[in-house]
C-alpha cells in the first residue's frame, strides 16, 4: 500500500465524461481509518426548515457484505438533496431503504417524527422515479399517471382531472393516449415524473433518473426538475454518480463512498472545503501531494517542501490538495517546477498538464487570453498557501 504514496496525485482529464473516477491510488495514500463511523455535523445556519426525514443508525448487510454501514442523516422539508457517489458506494441501497423496498438490518427511519421503519413501500408517503422509468408497458400514459390515485381509491372524476393537470405541467398533455413504448426517452422521463408528482408524496426519490438521456436533454430535464421542485416545494432526494449533475441540482450534497457518508454540505462547501481526499478527488479536479508535516510549518514531500495553509503540528502524515484554478504559472511563489506535456483546450479556459516528476503530473488552468505556454516549455508552479487544503484522510 505504501508504495502507492508517490503516485498520490490523481489527474482527471475530463471530469464531465468520466463517470467513475479512479481514486484507489489517492485513497491508499490517505491512510483511511476503516473503523470510522459516519457522523455528521450539520452547519447551524441551515437547520431552519423542519426535518422531513430522520435517518438514525440505518444499515444494510447482504450476508457478509455490508452494503451500507450504520449512518445518520437528516433531510429537511423542501430541500433537494443529492446522494452522490461512485457505483457500489451504497447510494442506491440507501434510496431503496428510504422507499421501503428493502428492509434495513439496523436503524430507524422517521418521517415527520413518525417511525416508518416497518412500513411496506406501498404504505409510505414516498414517490420514486426509477432509473429505467419503470412505466407499465400495458397501460397508456394517462393510465400510468392515474395508477397511484387509483391505488389510493380516489374518485374517478377527480383522478381524470388531476391526470390532465399533471400531464400539462410536464408538457405531455397531448400524448395521454400513447403507450410508453411509443415515447422518446425524454418523454418517458416526463411521464415518470408526472406519475410520481400526481399523488403529491411528501418525499420524492429519484434514482439516476437522468443517466439514460443524452447531455442536452439531461440539462433540459435538470432545469425542469429544479422548476418543479421550486413550484411544488417537494422534498427531493436525487441519486447520481455524476458530480456535475449534483453540483448543478442540489441544495445539499451527501457524498457517499464504500457504504458510508463521506461528507454532507452545500455544493460550494464540498468543492471549496473537501474534508477528505476522496471528496477532493470525486468533485472537481484536484492536485494531491502526499507528505508529512514538519516542525518548520511546511510539508515535506518527495518533490520538495510545500507551504501549509495553517499552522499544523509536525510529524502528521497527510495530503495537500490544490485546485487547478489556484495554481499560478511562473508567478512570485514557485514551489515546484515542471514541463508542459499536454494542453487541453476547453473554450473558456485551457487546461495544462505539467510533468513535475516521473510519477507526478499537475493540472493547472489558464484563462482564455493569457499568453500560451507551448508543450515542452519549463514552468514554475506556485499558489497562495491559504488556497490549499491539508487533509489527513
Amino acid at each position: 500500500m505504501s508504495s502507492a504514496r508517490g503516485t498520490a496525485n490523481h489527474v482527471e482529464l475530463y471530469p464531465g465524461d468520466t463517470n467513475e473516477p479512479v481514486v484507489t491510488a489517492s485513497l491508499a495514500g490517505a491512510g483511511q481509518d476503516v473503523a470510522r463511523e459516519a457522523k455528521l455535523d450539520v452547519p447551524p445556519q441551515e437547520s431552519l426548515a423542519p426535518t422531513k426525514l430522520k435517518i438514525e443508525g440505518l444499515s444494510k448487510a447482504y450476508g457478509d457484505f455490508q452494503a451500507l454501514h450504520p449512518l445518520d442523516l437528516d433531510i429537511r422539508e423542501g430541500e433537494l438533496l443529492t446522494l452522490l457517489g461512485p457505483s457500489g458506494s451504497g447510494k442506491t441501497t440507501l434510496l431503496q431503504l428510504i422507499a421501503g423496498l428493502v428492509k434495513p438490518s439496523t436503524g430507524k427511519l422517521l418521517m415527520d417524527d413518525i417511525d416508518q421503519t416497518a412500513l411496506p413501500a406501498n404504505q409510505r408517503d414516498v414517490g420514486v422515479v426509477f432509473q429505467n422509468y419503470a412505466l407499465f408497458p400495458h397501460l397508456t400514459v394517462s393510465e400510468n399517471v392515474a395508477f397511484p390515485l387509483r391505488m389510493r381509491g380516489e374518485p374517478r372524476a377527480q383522478t381524470l382531472e388531476r391526470v390532465k393537470e399533471v400531464l400539462e405541467m410536464v408538457g405531455m398533455g397531448h400524448l395521454g393516449d400513447r403507450f410508453p413504448d411509443a415515447l422518446s426517452g425524454g418523454q418517458q422521463q416526463r411521464v415518470a415524473l408526472a406519475r410520481c408528482m400526481i399523488y403529491r408524496p411528501s418525499l420524492i426519490l429519484m434514482d439516476e433518473s437522468l443517466s439514460a438521456l443524452d447531455r442536452k436533454l439531461r440539462e433540459t430535464m435538470q432545469m425542469e426538475i429544479r422548476r418543479l421542485h421550486r413550484e411544488t416545494g417537494a422534498t427531493i432526494v436525487f441519486v447520481t454518480h455524476d458530480q456535475e449533475e449534483a453540483l448543478a441540482l442540489s441544495d445539499r450534497i451527501c457524498l457517499m463512498n464504500g457504504g458510508r457518508i463521506e461528507q454532507v454540505g452545500r455544493p460550494e462547501e464540498i468543492y471549496e472545503h473537501p474534508e477528505s481526499v476522496f471528496a477532493a478527488n470525486f468533485i472537481g479536479v484536484s492536485n494531491l501531494f502526499a507528505g508529512k508535516t514538519t516542525d518548520r510549518g511546511v510539508m515535506e514531500t518527495v518533490f520538495g517542501s510545500l507551504p501549509l495553509p495553517e499552522s499544523i503540528a509536525g510529524g502528521i502524515e497527510g495530503t495537500l490538495v490544490v485546485r487547478p484554478e489556484h495554481i499560478a504559472l511562473n508567478g512570485d511563489d514557485r514551489y515546484l517546477e515542471g514541463e508542459v506535456v499536454e494542453r487541453v483546450y476547453a473554450g473558456a479556459e485551457t487546461r495544462l498538464l505539467i510533468q513535475v516528476a516521473p510519477e507526478l503530473v499537475v493540472t493547472a488552468r489558464q484563462a482564455a487570453g493569457a499568453s500560451m505556454l507551448e508543450i515542452g516549455s519549463r514552468v514554475g508552479l506556485g499558489w497562495a498557501a491559504e488556497n490549499a487544503r491539508f487533509l489527513t484522510r
Partner: protein
Amino acid sequence: MQSATAIPTSRGSSWMPRWNVFHLVLPGVIFLLLFLLLPTLQVLAMSVFKQGDFTAAAFAKMVSSPLYLRVFAKTFSIALQTTIYCLVLGYPLAYWVSTLNARKQRLAMFFILLPFWTSALIKNFSWLIILGRQGPVAELMAALGIPGGDRLLFNEVTVVFAMVHTMLPLAVVTMIPVLNQIDRRLLPAASTLGAGGGRRFWEVYFPLSMRGVAAAGLLTFVASLGFFITPELVGSPKETLVGQLIILQINKLQNWQLGCALAVVLLICALIVCFIYDRIFGISSMSGGGGRQRAHDSVLRRSGLSLLRGLGWVSERLALLGRGGRGRLWLSLYATLALFVLMLPIFGFVPMAFTGGTALTFPPQGFSLRWFEQFFASPLWTGAIVRSFVIGIVTAAITVVIGGLAALGMARGRSRFSGAVFLLLLMPLIVPPIVIAVSLFYQFAHLSLIATDLGIVIGHTVIALPIVFVILLSTFKGYQWQLDDVSRTLGAGRWQTLRHVMLPLVSGGLVAGFFTGFLQSFEELTVALFIGGGLKTTLQRQMWDSILLQATPTIAAASVIVLAIVLALFLLVELVQSRRSRARSQPVMAA
C-alpha cells in the same frame, strides 16, 4: 434481441449486396406450399366433391348423425378441459421457474423439457401400465383397502388427466419465455405507487404475461383437438374423439370423403381459434416479437383491465398474495410436486421392462434381460429402429437447411410479405398433425410416395419445420450483425468472416436446431401411421401397433431404449444450449 430487426436494409447489403436477403425464405415457402397448403386444399376439395360433382353429403351426414355430433362435442369438451387445466396448473409452475436464478432455472427446465421431448406414446403407455389393473397404483390401493383400484383406466377423468399430463410441458415451455421477459423492476415501482401484493400481481404482472398464456392456450387447444393417442390407449369407446374417427374412416373403412370432411371441420376449428388469437394478440407475437399495434380504447382491453382491477381489489382484500414468505414456500412445494408427476410416467414403467415374467405386472417378477434380447432378435424391431434413425437424421438435415435459410431471410431481409411468410412457416403448428397426415396421405397416393421413407421424411419435415425455424430465428436475431462489418474492416473476406466469426457464434443454435428436428421426427407417430402404410414402420409406429395388439414387456423394453436415446440426445442438446447461452451472456456481464 430486437435490435437486429431494426437495422435498416442498407446495413443488410454488407453481407449479400446484389439481391434481397429475404429471398432466402423461398425454399421453405415453396416446400410448405407444396406439402402443406396444396394437400390441405385438396382435402378441402375432397370433402365436398364426389366424382367431380359438388356434394355436401359428408357434412350432411355429420350434422344429422347424433354419433358424430356426440364425438365432436366430446372432442371440444375434452380439448377445452385440457387447455384450461394446462393453463391453470402450468402458470404457477412457469411462474416459479421464471423466478429462479439462471443456474436453478436450467435445472428446472431439464425436468420440464424431458417430459416435453418424451413421446406422447411412451407417456400414455406408461399410464396404461401404472394405472392398470395390476399396476403399482392398483396394488397400493388394494394394500390400503381403498376400492376402485381396478377401475382407474378407461374413463373420461383419466383421459383428461393423461391429456393434461401430455400437454402440460408444451404449455409451460410456451409461457416461460414470456414470463422471463417481464421487467421485474416494474413490481417495486408499483409498490412505491401504492399497490399491494394482490394488485401488483393482477394489475401489473398478470396482464404482461397474458401474451404467453394466450399462446400456450392456443397451442394446447389446437394440439388437443386432433389428439388420438390418449383416448385410444386409456379411454373407453365413450371417449372416442374426432382424431380416432378420422383414422377409422380413412385407414380402416377407406371412406375418404367422410374422413376428409372430419379433418376439414378440425382444421376450421383450429383456424377460428387462431383467428381470434390473432385479433387480440397478433400472431407474430408468438415468436417473441412485438405484437399487434394496440388500440387504447378497445372494448376488449377496457373490460380486461376492469376484470383484472376487480381481481386485484378482491385478492388485496383477501390478502391472498400479500404475504411473501409463506406463499413462496407453497409455490415451491407445488412446483416440486408438479415436476414429480411430470417425471413419474417417464421412469415409472422402467422396472417392468426388466421383468422375468411374461406380463406387465407390478411388482416385476424377478430380473431378466430377456425382453431386450427379444427386441434385438426381432428383425421387425431392429428394422424399425434403424429406419427411425435414418429418417430422423435426414429430416433434421433438411429441416435445418430450409429452416435456417428461412430464418436468415426473416432476420436480415425486409419485405411486405414477411408477415405472411412468418404465418406460413408457423402453419404446421396451427394445423392439427392428423390433418397434415391425412392431407399428405391423399397427396402421396397420387405421387406413389406412400410406404416410402421419402414420404415419411417429407411429412416429418413439415411437422418439425416451425420449431426448428423459431429456434434458428432467435439464433440469427441474437447474432450481432455488426460483427460482420467489424470483421470485414479488420481485413477478413466474406468467407473468412463466415467461417471465423459467424459460424462459431451461431453453431450452438444450428446444433440445437438439428437435434430438435431429429427428436421431432424420432418421436412422431401420426404421419408415420398414415404414410408408412404398414410396410415402412418407424419405431413409434411399431410400438403403437404392438400396444394395440397386446401390451407385452417387449414394448416396455422398446420404450426404455427409446427413452435412453432421447435422454442421451436431450442431454447433448442441453449441453450445447447451455454452452451457447453462457457464451452469449459473457458480453452482457462484461458490460
